[in-house]
Symmetry: C2
Subunit: 414 residues, 2 copies
C-alpha cells in the first residue's frame, strides 16, 4: 500500500457521502444562502463549532437509537472518546451553557453545520448532510414558537415553495406525556413508546407493538391543547396558514419538552417529513446548570434538495465567473492577462486561457464551464484596444472599447 | 453515564478545536469571504467534498509523518478504514480523476474545507482548521505558477497586508532533486532528507542529521534555476515584487514535482511561514490515470488570523442584524412584530423583544449583541406610526415616520 502507482485507488468518495462539483456546490450554496438570508432577516447571528465532540455529550440526551447504532464514535490517539456530531443541538447547548452569564437573552443563533450518521444510505438519508440549525434561547412563551415556525415557513417561501405544496404539523409533547401518565409504565418505557410513535408510518403492527410496551391499548385522537391552539391561531394571523394540529406527531429526539413541529411535503411522489423541531427547555441541565427555555429546528440539505427537485424549483447552474478571455495565439497570453487584471479591478470575474489551443477549443472550454461571455485577444485587439464580446448563451456579438467592457457585462447588454 | 443530570458534562470543546461564537464567526466569515472574492475574480469555481475519505487515499502520497502520526483514522461500523482528511489535495485530485473526460481544462477550482491533524495544539496549529485550497489543473507552463502566486499575493492585499509585511519565497523541487542525484542514496532517503530540510528551522543539528541520511555533507547554496528566475521576473512585471528565491525551501508534502512557494510573515513577533503550495504534476497516477499538471496552494485560517492580529488588521465585530425593536410593555409585542415584518420586506434585518423586561434592560440586550439601531414600541408609536430611531453607538436619536425607517437605516442617517 505504501508505494503509489502499484495499486490503483478508487475515485469514489467514502460510502454515503457526496462530492460537490461546481454544479453541485452551486445548489448547496443556493440553499444555504437562501436560508441565511431569511434567518438574518429575523435577527439570528451565526455561530459554529467543530464536528468533533466529546462522546459523552450525546449519551443520555440524543435518541438511544442514534447513540447506540448510528454515531461515528472512535477513540483518538490520546485515548479520548470522540464523536462526529450526529446533530447540532447538544453543541449549541454546550456553547450557551459555557457563556450563560455573558450572553444577552433572548438569544437568536443559527448555524449550517454538517452532521454525521452511520446508516444505510437511501433517498433523503446520507451519512453526512448539512443542516440549518436555528434556535432562540430565553423565551418561555409561545412567541418563540411563533417566530421559529413562521421563520421556517418563510424559508420555504424564499425557496419558491407554495403554501399549498407542504403543511406544518404541530403537536405538544406535554399532551403525549399526560396521556402516557395514565399507563403505569416506567419513564424508559414512555420514551420507548414515543420512539415507536415517531416511526409509526414506517413500521408494521404499530398498535400491537404499542400495546406490548404500554400493557394496554392507547387511543391517540386526543383534543388539541390550548397552547398549540394559540400557536396555530397566531401563526394564521401572521399569514402562516398551512398549519395543522397532528396528535400523533412526536419527533425523534428525547429532549423535547413541549411544542414539536414538522414540515411535511404534500407532493404525491415525495409524501414525507422534510424537517422539524420543537421546544427543549431542559437541555442545560446536562451541564449542571439552571435551564434556559429554547425552541429550535434543523433543516437538512438532502431533503430540501429532493423537495426542490420534486417541485421543479432548483435554479439553473450559473458560475460566478463572468468572462473568459481567449487568445488567438499563446503570444497573446500576456495581453490577455493585462486586460484581465484591468477588468478584475472593475469587479468583473475573469478566467484567462493559458494553453496553446485553437480558438474553437477555447470557446468550448468556456461554454463547458458555463461562463456567459468571451473575448478573444489577438494582434488587432492588443493594438486597437477594441474587442468583440461574445455572449456564449445567445451567440450574439458586439464590438466595444476596452473601457466599456465592464459596463456591457454588468448590464448584460450583449 | 446513561442518565443526564447525574454527572455534569464539561462545556469545553474537544481538545484542540474551537467554538465559534458570533464574534468569532464574524472573523471566520470575513477571512473566508475575502478569500472567495479574490479567487472568484480569477475565475475559480467552488467545489467541496466530505471530510470522510477512504484511508488509502493518504497512504503513500501525503507526508509519512502526517499519515503515521497525525491522521484521525478509524474503522467504521462496516469495517471500512476512514480518515478525516488531513489536507484537501488528495480529495481534489480524486474529484478531477473521477471526471477527467468531462471536465474542461484549464480547470480552476477552489474550496474552503476544514482539515484535521492529531497534534499537540499550539500557536498557529490546532487539530481542526479551515483552509482555502486553490488549484489550477491542465497547465504545464509557468503561467500557472504566475497566476497562483499573484492570486495568493492579492488575497494578502485584500486582507490589508502591505507588500513589505511579508515575502513570497520560491524554489523548485527539480533543483533539489538534481542536487540529491549526486548522492548515492535511495528514493526513500531522498524523501527523508527533504522532510528534514522542511523542518530545518525547527530542529537542532540539521547538518549532522543531513549527513547521516546522505552519507556526506550537502551544500544548499545552489544557483537559481531558469524556471524560478522567469517566474520571479514575470511576477514583478505583474506588480508582485516581494518574491525571493529561497534554495532551502522544500514544503512538507512528498507530491510536489516542481515549483514550491511559501508566504512568510516578516513581523519580528510572528516570523514564520503563513502558507504555501506548489506544482504537483503526478498526483493522478495513484488512480491509475494519465497525469494532469497542477499547481495549487492551501491557506489556513489559524495562521492568517494570527497574521491579521499581529499586524492589527482584524475588523471590528458588526452583526448582520440592523435593528432591535424593544417594547414598552409585553402587550406591544404583536405591534412590534407587525412593524418588524414590514421592515424585513424592505430588506432590514430585525430582532424583536419577546420578554416582559424594562426598556433599559432591552437596550442593554441590543447593545450587548452590538446591534446598531433600536426602536421602542409603545402605545403612542402603535397609534401614530411615528417612531424614534436610536443609534446605539452614538446615542443620537431621530424621530421618523414608519415609511422612512428603512431609508434612514440604510443610509445610516441617524
Amino acid at each position: 500500500m505504501k508505494n503509489s502507482g502499484k495499486k490503483k485507488l478508487s475515485t469514489e468518495p467514502y460510502k454515503g457521502v457526496r462530492d460537490f462539483y461546481p454544479e453541485d456546490m452551486f445548489i448547496q450554496n443556493y440553499i444555504a444562502n437562501t436560508m441565511r438570508e431569511v434567518v438574518e432577516k429575523y435577527g439570528y447571528a451565526e455561530y459554529s463549532s467543530s464536528i468533533l465532540e466529546p462522546a459523552e455529550l450525546y449519551e443520555g440526551k440524543t435518541s438511544e437509537e442514534i447513540v447506540n447504532e448510528q454515531t461515528y464514535t472512535f477513540t483518538d490517539r490520546g485515548d479520548r472518546r470522540v464523536t462526529l456530531r450526529p446533530e447540532m443541538t447538544p453543541s449549541v447547548a454546550r456553547l450557551v451553557a459555557a457563556r450563560k452569564r455573558e450572553l444577552a437573552f433572548p438569544l437568536r443563533w443559527y448555524s449550517v453545520p454538517n452532521v454525521f450518521r452511520y446508516e444505510r444510505p437511501q433517498r433523503g438519508r446520507l451519512r453526512e448532510h448539512w443542516q440549518l440549525n436555528c434556535d432562540i434561547f430565553g423565551v418561555a412563551g409561545i412567541e418563540a414558537e411563533i417566530e421559529i415556525i413562521s421563520l421556517a415557513a418563510n424559508i420555504m417561501r424564499a425557496l419558491g415553495a407554495k403554501d399549498t405544496e407542504y403543511e406544518i404539523r404541530i403537536n405538544n409533547r406535554k399532551s403525549l406525556n399526560k396521556l402516557l401518565n395514565e399507563f403505569s409504565v416506567s419513564e424508559e418505557q414512555k420514551k420507548e413508546f414515543l420512539r415507536l410513535l415517531d416511526k409509526r408510518d414506517k413500521i408494521e403492527n404499530f398498535d400491537e407493538k404499542a400495546k406490548d410496551i404500554l400493557g394496554s391499548e392507547i387511543s391517540l385522537d386526543f383534543d388539541i391543547d390550548a397552547e398549540t391552539k394559540n400557536i396555530i391561531e397566531e401563526l394564521k394571523a401572521r399569514n402562516v396558514k398551512n398549519v395543522v394540529f397532528s396528535p400523533t406527531l412526536v419527533r425523534g429526539f428525547d429532549y423535547y419538552t413541549g411544542t414539536v413541529f414538522e414540515v411535511f411535503d404534500l407532493a404525491p411522489g415525495n409524501n414525507r417529513s422534510l424537517f422539524g423541531g420543537g421546544r427543549y427547555d431542559n437541555l442545560l441541565d446536562i451541564f449542571g446548570m439552571e435551564n434556559i427555555p429554547a425552541v429550535g429546528f434543523g433543516m437538512g440539505d438532502v431533503t430540501i434538495k429532493d423537495f426542490l427537485e420534486t417541485h421543479a424549483l432548483l435554479p439553473e447552474y450559473a458560475p460566478n465567473t463572468d468572462l473568459y478571455i481567449a487568445t488567438v495565439g499563446p503570444e497573446h497570453i500576456a495581453d490577455a492577462q493585462e486586460l484581465a487584471d484591468k477588468l478584475r479591478e472593475q469587479g468583473i470575474n475573469v478566467a484567462v486561457n493559458m494553453l496553446d489551443k485553437k480558438i474553437g477549443d477555447q470557446i468550448k472550454t468556456a461554454a463547458k464551464q458555463a461562463i456567459p461571455f468571451l473575448i478573444a485577444v489577438g494582434e488587432d485587439e492588443a493594438k486597437t484596444k477594441n474587442y468583440i464580446i461574445k455572449n456564449l448563451n445567445s451567440g450574439k456579438e458586439i464590438k466595444t472599447k476596452e473601457e466599456e467592457i465592464a459596463d456591457k457585462i454588468w448590464s448584460e447588454n450583449v
